[in-house]
Symmetry: C2
Amino acid sequence: MVSAFDLCIETEYRGLGSLVFCGEMKEPMAMGIVVQKFGGSSVRDTACIKRVARRIKTEMDGGSKVVVVVSAQGRTTDELMRKARAVTSRPPQREMDMLLATGEQMSVALLAMAVDALGCPVVSLTGAQGGIFTDHRHMKAKIQSVHSGRIAQELDSGRVVIVAGFQGISDRDDITTLGRGGSDTTAVALAAALEADVCEIYTDVEGIYTADPRMEPRARKLREIGYGEMLEMASLGALVLQPRAVEMAAHYGVAIHVRSSFSQSPGTWVKEEATMEREVLVTGVTSDVDCAKIVLVDIPDDISVLHQVFSNLSGVGINVDMIIQTSKEQHTTDLTFTVAEADVEQALDVIKQADAVKDSAIVYDENVAKVSIVGAGMMSNPGVAAAMFGCLNEAKIPVQLVSTSEIKVSCLIPRARIQEAVQACHRQFELDFVV
Amino acid sequence: MVSAFDLCIETEYRGLGSLVFCGEMKEPMAMGIVVQKFGGSSVRDTACIKRVARRIKTEMDGGSKVVVVVSAQGRTTDELMRKARAVTSRPPQREMDMLLATGEQMSVALLAMAVDALGCPVVSLTGAQGGIFTDHRHMKAKIQSVHSGRIAQELDSGRVVIVAGFQGISDRDDITTLGRGGSDTTAVALAAALEADVCEIYTDVEGIYTADPRMEPRARKLREIGYGEMLEMASLGALVLQPRAVEMAAHYGVAIHVRSSFSQSPGTWVKEEATMEREVLVTGVTSDVDCAKIVLVDIPDDISVLHQVFSNLSGVGINVDMIIQTSKEQHTTDLTFTVAEADVEQALDVIKQADAVKDSAIVYDENVAKVSIVGAGMMSNPGVAAAMFGCLNEAKIPVQLVSTSEIKVSCLIPRARIQEAVQACHRQFELDFVV
């Protein structure tokens, strides 16, 4: 178990700067606006599309103005990627965006047809038509401004507006995509721009749980969770919401309601911590098995070496997590960190390109996983980390690395022990009793 | 055999008015521009896409500036239509366009990837990005203007430009499609706007033949054909080129080269009749089995009745061909005409809505086909029609209806006899000897 760490750099979700919202919404509309986002599994086939259409119709009948954001159907995006790879192993990213954007364009058109068939006025829009302007970074573009004029106008004419998620347009008039899960971000950006009452994220689970119910059957659905906690949970492997979307929602104060597209029961509200009614130390336990540990042995103990290694990794877009440097004798050091499992090979290649470490031994281990506890309540309570280590120790689960933030503690452990670890933490912090 | 007809109205391809071309091509470019159009079968799978990419590369290496127009892959459009119909039997046309446009967007992206993989700078554009502006008639939009600024700029930067055929954008920023085969029209419109040297239409046959080779094995490939003849041939069932594209090419003097995407040999040039070197009466024989005959028996002999019937048909978009009215005693008349076979049912419905004929007997016959001879040379030669009737009579093929234009004669005959009829005409006008 590692008890001291000299250096700890957390993966950062960069500040958004400020989004520009352009539109002509001079005065608040009489009726509230609801933004509903449906993921790929919610529209995976005709029956699902029709169910979503009925849901939209119900919301319209209730008197709301409805904006819907949809992802590509089921596995469409994977299928398109497969087609591209059949043509070339290195498709240009601009052309990948041109290709991938067709997935959402298909779903918005099909969903609009289904809504129309219920007798409800409707119009579908691509990201570009919906005024989603992004920067030029193809396949991982960031939304820079939302020109909501067309959407506001369609809403005013009494139509449901269905917008393609995941995509936008750059100021060079090129189609861009926001990266996997970007539809959540589209939904939150539109909710912010339109000053919607709520951004509903429909998914195939009932809400946010204290732990992944597949790991811990005693996990309970949370009634609400703060932005900060949700951001940690999302970053740590709770795949229901994209961290970028949570970050944007926090920035613009958009209330998110995560709920199931298969039931009518309320899900989990994601909102300001200040509105929380309860006082608990730990809100949830997350696990992430998509990680691998890399150790550079006996490298020069020099900050410029670290800079070179991590610059090279970030240069090829590899996110690094849980960095630990342990000083040794004779001005050498061991540098340990984790990356996503899929990035290991490329990471090793890139590391070897750094002059200072090219002759060092490099060890890696893919049989690791990360268990984390998250909670705004732990901010001023140092005993929480100790209690976590205690319960893992009691279960005889060895901890290889630790990293912390103000509202979470993460431990790297052997992958085979992850479920045990989640259950131990869940029990330790009495999450079974949180409603 | 009908020997006299009182009234003959031909289906008309409406005048284009004038297309607006906007761009910044102040002076002629040093290198010639070639527009190449590849149909759905030319890009139906990965191997085909790669072959097309190599063809484009060869053209680039020869020093041309290349603009490529592509259709949706293989049966993609049919597949998308099937998806829409699974959702609703009456999909709104605007949403159909939204859906169908994804087909070409996929092909341009994949083809651009293949061209890029050959080390050739390339960019793909949607119809909207390519500046194809249309009217608002969804699923059968007409191109109104071409804003070629982006394309010219990409060509100037040395890139191959791959534009999605079949689609455009209206001035309301809605995606439109040009109807089946609209990619030909896109290619010709771009060739006109860019003042291209040639518009090459790649297809799965070697060019334009004196007859459909499946009907007449002795059919010969034409070296060239005039716009007017090509227009008649295309309208009469030679499916290689869209009539609208031919009409636009004639209007703007765009030279079209119809050729095979599977071979390097020259195909057929479509250009001004004036440049023709040969003097033949008949250029080709066409056949069309996609027709049905409708007869309204004993209706009032009154032009307002005809107006009502045909207005109703045109109101639902049904094209009528070969109209014949035969006056009878007691101020009644029989009205005979043909429509596409798929339109019969709807045509009968619509006709019954006309007050004046709602009580008349209606007879229809789907076992008919149309054989036509086409040739600019017949314009001042009345003997051509007689020779056609003669050869059909000699083969004992009964002629049910006749219609003519300055450069064609069409006869409606029993469908079972169509191949015999094509071969009889082909022989009669000595087309075997035309090179």
